[in-house]
């Protein structure tokens, strides 16, 4: 058996042969079979090829979540290039800086967005409109398309996923085929993913969860059902949708699930036919998890953990035993072909119960950050435990420890990165935006209220700035989920002896609910 090199081999050698007529995607009123997805993707690939770009080049996708993104991404992959799904709600300035750094050869979009992309400095000849690229009159030669993949390696990138960066510029994580194949094969095996999974997709297309759902569609012929965005605020409607669509598999961030538990939706409407409930991205409070487990006793619950830089996730914990409401759920054990090192302050392996930084070793590691050697060198470093040859590990910045059962337990962050509504946010990026957007603010400190789950801006200014002004200015620079929702003005920031803003003092006042001054 020859080794798999490209994720598309899942599709070509398995799903398209076994179940070409099975539904691959349901997007609103429309649905597409695997065969239809293949044809649309290959038409797009042929249009990309005719633009004269080679392979291993970034091609961005500026489309709302849905079937269009799937066929665009696969079209890019079939052309031997790297897909970069953009957040179409991102403010123009932030988007422009991202595009300037990535420099995509082409952008796949739709006619309705042509104007806004032109405003970002993208010339018309770099745009591909999906409605014409996927149209019926686009002919393609299958052999020619597949021959584009011949020179590619498993270490060549499949996609670039962007995440918040503390200096104000986003980091663009380059992920290769091998790491997706590794994770998908592990998941199929360990989580027993069959051939009749109906996936309720809630993840934004610019998250890695979406790319994993795409891999399951390719590898197992799963059906992806896109959950309409406008249902997101209405948990009862989401649960009804799951039941109506026969969704049996979800991989969500806990935010929505916590909301469903708080409102006791599963006790009030018919419980959905879920068999697998996978969650990742932030801590799922055990009390709410217990609610889900009680309401869906037949489902398997799995906690996954991992930053984008190691491709999806690197540890897992399948819930089997009972947990009391105040007992934290472990992030568990390393996934196959992944090694977890817990390094203490001296860069030595931490003992049982001793906190240390979680570091990852294995082929799941990203290739680095696109056009960003400085940050790449900081996070992807040489394994301090291996002096013999250059072996790279990824330092997550997450603090963890191993308990007596050898389970890994999550503690928190070493720095100012937070998880909010499932998004990974560097508080430094918010501070950066505040200081550049609002001249009247002399100093800023952005904090996170853990209990209230609130981003808080403490700022120094001569006088109070109206709330509406603050928010409106920040919306020009930051996506909505990054905008602070609580604001406090101080005449003067507290300083520590070396003159820096006393973050710790401000933070303890916030968390303990003490007055600011």
């Amino acid at each position: 058996m020859s080794m798999q090199i490209n994720v598309l081999e899942y599709f070509e050698k398995n799903t398209l042969l076994r179940s070409p007529r099975k539904t691959a995607i349901i997007d609103g009123e429309k649905s597409y079979t695997h065969k239809e997805v293949e044809v649309l993707a290959k038409r797009i690939a042929s249009v990309i090829a005719r633009k004269g770009i080679g392979t291993r080049r970034p091609v961005a996708v500026f489309l709302p979540k849905g079937a269009g993104v799937v066929v665009a991404d696969l079209g890019i992959a079939y052309s031997g290039n790297i897909y970069v799904n953009l957040d179409i709600k991102s403010p123009a300035q932030r988007m422009k800086r991202l595009l300037d750094n990535i420099g995509p050869d082409l952008v796949i979009t739709a006619g309705e967005f042509e104007g806004s992309l032109a405003g970002l400095g993208l010339a018309a000849d770099r745009l591909i409109l999906i409605e014409s690229a996927a149209a019926e009159d686009v002919a393609y030669d299958n052999g020619e398309i597949l021959s584009r993949l011949e020179g590619l390696l498993d270490t060549d990138p499949l996609c670039i996923i962007n995440t918040s960066g503390s200096t104000g510029l986003q980091k663009s994580v380059v992920l290769n085929h091998r790491s997706f194949i590794d994770f998908t094969d592990w998941a199929v095996d360990r989580l027993r993913i069959g051939e009749d999974e109906v996936i309720g997709s809630l993840s934004p297309v610019f998250f890695d969860i979406y790319s994993f759902e795409l891999c399951l569609m390719l590898a197992r012929g799963s059906t992806i059902v896109f959950i309409p965005d406008k249902l997101a605020g209405f948990p009862a409607r989401i649960v009804e949708f799951l039941t109506r669509q026969g969704i049996n598999f979800i991989f969500w961030v806990p935010t929505v699930m916590v909301n469903i538990a708080n409102l006791d939706i599963l006790g009030k409407v018919e419980p959905p036919p879920l068999r697998k409930v996978i969650f990742a991205g932030e801590v799922f409070p055990t009390k709410h998890l217990n609610y889900w487990r009680r309401r869906l006793p037949g489902a398997t619950f799995v906690n996954l953990y991992g930053p984008i830089e190691i491709t999806l996730d690197c540890t897992y914990y399948v819930l089997e035993r009972e947990f009391s409401d105040d007992e934290p759920v472990p992030i568990g054990f390393p996934c196959r072909n992944t090694d977890i090192l817990i390094l203490n302050d001296e860069d030595r392996p931490a003992g049982t119960g001793e906190p240390g930084e979680l570091c990852v070793r294995g082929t799941g590691l990203a290739m680095g950050y696109w056009n960003d050697p400085v940050n790449t060198a900081k996070a992807f470093v040489r394994n301090p435990l291996n002096p013999h040859y250059p072996e790279t590990i990824y330092r997550t910045g997450d603090l963890v420890y191993r308990n007596e059962r050898s389970e890994i337990m999550f503690i928190g962050r070493k720095d100012f990165q937070i998880k909010h509504l499932g998004y990974r946010i560097e508080l430094g990026e918010v501070e950066h935006a505040v200081l550049s957007a609002i001249e009247a603010i002399d100093n800023a400190c952005v904090l996170y209220h853990k209990e209230k789950k609130e981003i808080v801006l403490v700022y120094e200014a001569k006088k109070e700035i109206p709330l509406a002004d603050l928010r409106q200015r920040l919306l020009q620079l930051l996506p909505k989920y990054m905008i602070p929702t609580a604001f406090h003005r101080l005449a003067e920031m507290p300083r520590n002896p070396n003159g820096k803003i006393d973050r710790n003092l401000l933070n303890s006042r916030l968390q303990e609910g003490r007055p600011w001054t």
């Binding site: 605020g233 009862a236 409607r237 929505v256 469903i260 409102l263 509504l421 909505k480």
Partner: protein, 77 residues
């Protein structure tokens, strides 16, 4: 009650003119984060707990609709 509701809405999305809209949800003025925040603030202000099955788009389309759902869930004017 209408004025209080409008105040809370403005606090959450100061950039919008809620009086000019006939359907806050359809017009994209309230997204999923806003609904969660709004329900939380309404619960707190009126000392009630809005039933989860009442959190549906049609109950948040207008100030009048929000008022009706508050009254149904035991809020007093």
């Amino acid at each position: 009650m209408e004025n209080k509701i409008l105040d809370l809405l403005k606090g959450i999305r100061p950039e919008f003119d809620f009086q000019a809209s006939s359907d806050f949800v359809e017009d994209g003025m309230l997204d999923s984060f806003d609904i969660v925040t709004l329900v939380d603030e309404l619960d707190r202000h009126y000392g009630i707990s809005i039933d989860g099955i009442d959190i549906v788009p049609e109950n948040f389309a207008s100030v009048g609709a929000i008022r009706a759902v508050l009254l149904k869930n035991g809020a007093r004017e």
